[in-house]
Symmetry: C3
Subunit: 328 residues, 3 copies
């Protein structure tokens, strides 16, 4: 199946310089695109790739239009990355095979669950009683949507995700743990994406809440009672402990960890591999990981790090000594 | 469905001050509880919440009884947190909908597996041959219990958990890896809870063992041959490498990591985000993570950290110089 | 079921000293092996275990043959660890129960998927259209193999793994995220093992590629467009962000994290708990984690670490002062 260049700009806008009848057979990265393939250049620092790409047509921003036109066909748009995102969506719609059944016959949807007629539930998925799944939401294969959990419209839940497992709550009693039944549920807004094997626990009393537009990558843990603000995105392997309150428009890099019972303001960006152990009340970019090094170097520095406090004392002592000797 | 305040103390004990016929419609946090809802206060430092809560009734300890009684109805008990845990269990029992089938028809239980008549196996779960599942144990939806693995009584296994995947064992051979078949199984005691998408690998030769009362949160990895002592609790995203021997009554914070082939004493508490790279033979609280900071600050400190050993040498040198100059 | 010692060496080679008719009932670790059990000693530093083991027969290297023969039966081979791996495979073949069906009736294999007649698909697994599964590959229970994903020959996929979930790709647009449809797939070579609940995302345009002989443990996240070179092994909880290019013959310790868009040379070994935040172009062993300590010690050192850059300035200042005073 192919797409005419002209049909693309007709659908998505942008100015085409070149042959509207050029057949596009695939979307491809600049480095590997061939003469019937369409690519995009979003980062001006990669402009040199225009010199070597074999792409049949390239999506570029106005500032690169001139050089792009010199090498061949191009589509000029204000935001090539965004345009490209929309193009992948158009491509997907056109190239989708036969539709799958709305609720796959192997899925288990309990009585008392509500699935919007425009939503779909993949093979071998489970939807518990009292759960509600909104319009055009896609639940892929082998997903669990627990009792009473709610997903809004246009959500996408990847395979293996578990929405509504029990939160991790116990009362200590003479060295043993007494279960606190988790009586809340999970409430998820519209346009939320949830990655493969990601877990979102139900609240202890109130619900765990994921606001509109949140994007969660794979293998993420969201503890009970947590609130994730709208349009916040988290990369793979992130962990959020219970009762955290995370703002809107935040990002958390891969394997970032957020301790429990703390608050994170809107527009906070946490680097990969960083543990947030206290509330962050000011927007900004926060980091905390040990920089990697050759193992021998690391060993020496790590050993010294374990005496760092004492080193500081030695510096203080030197400063005093020197001040004394200068006084004399 | 509601519960009378009087019925609660009749069942669970405690002294009720107030109307035994008050109908409780929900358990709720102090901050959001309304006039027909029951809340609890376990932490004396939060006593000020008593002044503002709208809760119809509050569970408190004797030391707060006086102020609680002044604001309205209360139940006075020695350990409000524990009492509350038991109350959630009572609530769950009363509000549970129709019972699910003992073994859901969509579950696959192989011939030669034994499931106690009082245990239940959720939808789309798999129980391999030779596996044994004890009395009153609840295996939720989409769980794997591998061949020959054993779960004791009153366990709870959340959705997506995999008990008895192969341990990660290979012999190196000319740069490639030759599989060591994992011939052991997993042996789990009584009253163990296993979180969503958590994995416990089968042993290479002997079994991987999880003792009574252990609580594992979501997305935890337990490597082969590991032994986890009784009543130890681990938060989400923890990893335990193979052949670790972890004591009883330990806790591991979220994303804590425990290297292989080491021993951890009883009553050891590992902070979130900390890597245990050597045995810990003394009870206590252990931590090791890079404190988070604004990214610019972190960059400067991390760069210096990579020269920390040399900094120490410079301090030593300064100390020698100063000692020399004082000698003169 | 038992195995004669003579039958073992007949099959796998090695020199048997002792009774070829000795019946072996189990493979066991040296520490717990009994008189009808077979064990192995691969690490010369553990040679003292020969003095105490009750094993009926021990596999040893030539250098330990003498002491092993003095204590009883032994099999002498060049590489006991490798020999033992092959023995576990022989044991598994002999002790396997009745074969499972090639494609379990509860599995969902979509039309247009190809499963080699010698491959097997476990209970409750899903194989999407266009997927291809090679000869003798074993897909265990509750696995997802997404649309168009390819597995080579002799692969083993543990329960809960998700191959071909969407990569995590969005274009930012006025604070919200616009989905980039992931049009690539996952291409996996021969002899690859994929752990329980591990996720490998499909590429955005090109495929995510896992080369021959790669071994991935449980709960690993492999981002889209990543290339993992042959015979590389990763321990549990590792995360690899998108578009990383990882060499051959590498190892990554548990919970190691690899940032996106970077290159790692062949023969690079990353320690557990270490975040690779920049490309590594030289083979070697790399580490970066905060050493664990008693919490009180850690607190003092971590607090000082947040001023490390200023400490360096103070050292510089001291050096200058001292140089000045010596000049005088």
């Amino acid at each position: 199946m192919t797409l005419r260049a002209g049909a693309i700009v007709q659908s998505l806008g942008g100015e085409l310089f070149g042959d509207p009848d050029r057949h596009i057979t695939r979307l491809a990265p600049l480095e590997s695109a061939g003469s019937t393939e369409l690519s995009f250049l979003a980062n001006a620092r990669l402009a040199h790739l225009l010199d070597t790409t074999q792409a049949g047509c390239v999506i570029v921003s106005p500032v690169l239009a001139e050089s792009a036109r010199q090498r061949g066909d191009c589509i000029v748009v204000d935001d090539p990355h965004l345009y490209f995102a929309r193009l992948t969506q158009m491509w997907r719609r056109l190239h989708q095979g036969a539709a799958r059944p709305r609720i796959h016959p192997s899925a288990v949807v309990e009585e008392g669950a509500f699935v919007d007629p425009s939503a779909s539930i993949g093979a071998l998925s489970f939807v518990g009683r009292g759960a509600r799944i909104g319009a055009e939401t896609v639940v892929k294969e082998r997903v669990t949507i627990g009792e009473d959990c709610v997903l809004g419209a246009r959500c996408l839940v990847q395979s293996g995700a578990v929405i509504g497992g029990d939160g991790f709550g116990f009362a200590g009693h003479e060295g043993t743990w007494v279960k606190i039944e988790q009586l809340g549920a999970v409430r998820i807004g519209d346009d939320v994406e949830i990655g493969a094997n990601t877990c979102i626990d139900r609240g202890a009393l109130d619900d765990t809440v994921i606001d509109d537009g949140v994007k969660l990558d794979n293998l993420i843990q969201i503890g009970h009672n947590t609130h994730v603000g709208k349009h916040t995105a988290m990369a793979g392997c992130v962990g959020v402990a219970g009762s955290a309150r995370i703002g809107a428009y935040c990002t958390v890099g891969g394997a970032g960890m957020i301790a429990g019972h703390l608050s994170i303001a809107d527009h906070v960006h946490v680097s990969a591999g960083s543990l947030v152990s206290r509330s962050i009340l000011k927007p900004g970019h926060y980091t905390g990981f040990f920089p990697i090094d050759e193992n021998g170097e690391w060993e020496k520095n790590a050993a010294t790090l374990r005496q760092l406090h004492r080193l500081r004392e030695r510096i203080k002592h030197l400063e005093r000594q020197l001040a004394d000797s200068e006084d004399k």
